[in-house]
């Protein structure tokens, strides 16, 4: 079933500058795996080293956050749109005071 995956602006450089990618996928997880297989440089920005979606990566199936559906097992249907939206976090590391530059 063809679904469209919207690539967020900061990651488009890793997806041949494409703003969206269409793929055949039965679940949201399938679609994201296809995306990161086609564009391997995307993977480290979307997934942790142990294969989980990073906490600041938000994935929506149409208008719904997949955290409130069946996560990556959420089933897709023809014409669905999956959108990857960043959330932005940071701050001074008072506990460790470890600077990384």
């Amino acid at each position: 079933m063809p679904v469209k995956v919207i690539v967020p602006t900061p990651l488009r450089r890793f997806a041949a500058e494409r703003s969206s990618v269409e793929c055949e996928a039965a679940t949201v997880g399938d679609a994201l795996r296809q995306l990161t297989t086609s564009y391997r440089e995307l993977k480290k920005h979307l997934y942790t080293d142990d294969g989980r979606i990073r906490s600041f990566v938000n994935v929506y199936l149409n208008d719904d956050d997949i955290r409130f559906l069946k996560q990556e097992q959420t089933r897709t249907k023809d014409g669905d749109t999956i959108t990857i939206v960043p959330s932005i976090a940071g701050g001074a590391d008072a506990a460790r005071l470890r600077l990384i530059v």
Binding site: P8, T9, P10, L11, R13, F14, E41, K44, H45, S55, F56, N58, D65, V85, P86, S87, I88, A89, G90, G91, A92, D93, A94, R96, L97, R98, L99, I100, V101
Partner: protein, 168 residues
């Protein structure tokens, strides 16, 4: 676009143009929120002479639990910032936040949560007074930030007079 030059140690040297009035707007926001962290969006564009900030979008810090050393901008606010940029014919090119009583350097927590391509401006606030301001971009391999030189806006810039904009 012309690729950024590299310093002798191999780090990229990007550049970001920031009108002094906009820099003053960031410092004022940071001082106003002290001792908590402030945060906001940078609206602008990439051009032939580098990246340019043309407007600010101050945002509320979503971290009620530890606002002295953390900030959070939700996905909804990111989408709102993208819409605000598009309505002005601009792009969402990065983010700013403050480090109260800490250096204007990215922390490990900053790196773990950063996205590539965006510019991240950090301003140090010491005892309520905004001081050093720096800008950074995450390397594509997520291992480090590279510094981004802050330069005044080029002559004839359409920077919006330094008036921070607010979400609709």
């Amino acid at each position: 676009m012309i690729p950024p030059p590299h310093l002798p140690d191999g780090t990229r040297q990007d550049m970001i143009h920031l009108d002094e009035n906009l820099a003053t707007g960031i410092r004022a926001h940071a001082a106003r929120e002290y001792p908590y962290e402030c945060c906001g969006a940078l609206l602008g564009a990439d051009g032939a002479t580098g990246r340019e900030v043309r407007a600010l979008l101050p945002l509320a810090n979503g971290r009620d639990d530890s606002p002295r050393n953390r900030f959070l901008i939700s996905a909804d606010e990111v989408c709102a910032a993208e819409r605000a940029a598009a309505e002005r014919g601009l792009g969402l090119i990065g983010w700013y936040h403050s480090h109260p009583d800490h250096p204007a350097r990215p922390s490990e927590f900053d790196r773990e949560h950063a996205w590539p391509w965006y510019s991240y401006i950090i301003v140090r606030v010491a005892g309520g007074a905004a001081e050093e301001m720096t800008s950074w971009r995450l390397r594509d391999d997520r291992t480090h930030y590279d510094p981004e030189e802050i330069q005044p806006a080029p002559a004839g810039s359409p920077a919006m007079g330094g008036k921070p904009t607010v979400p609709a």
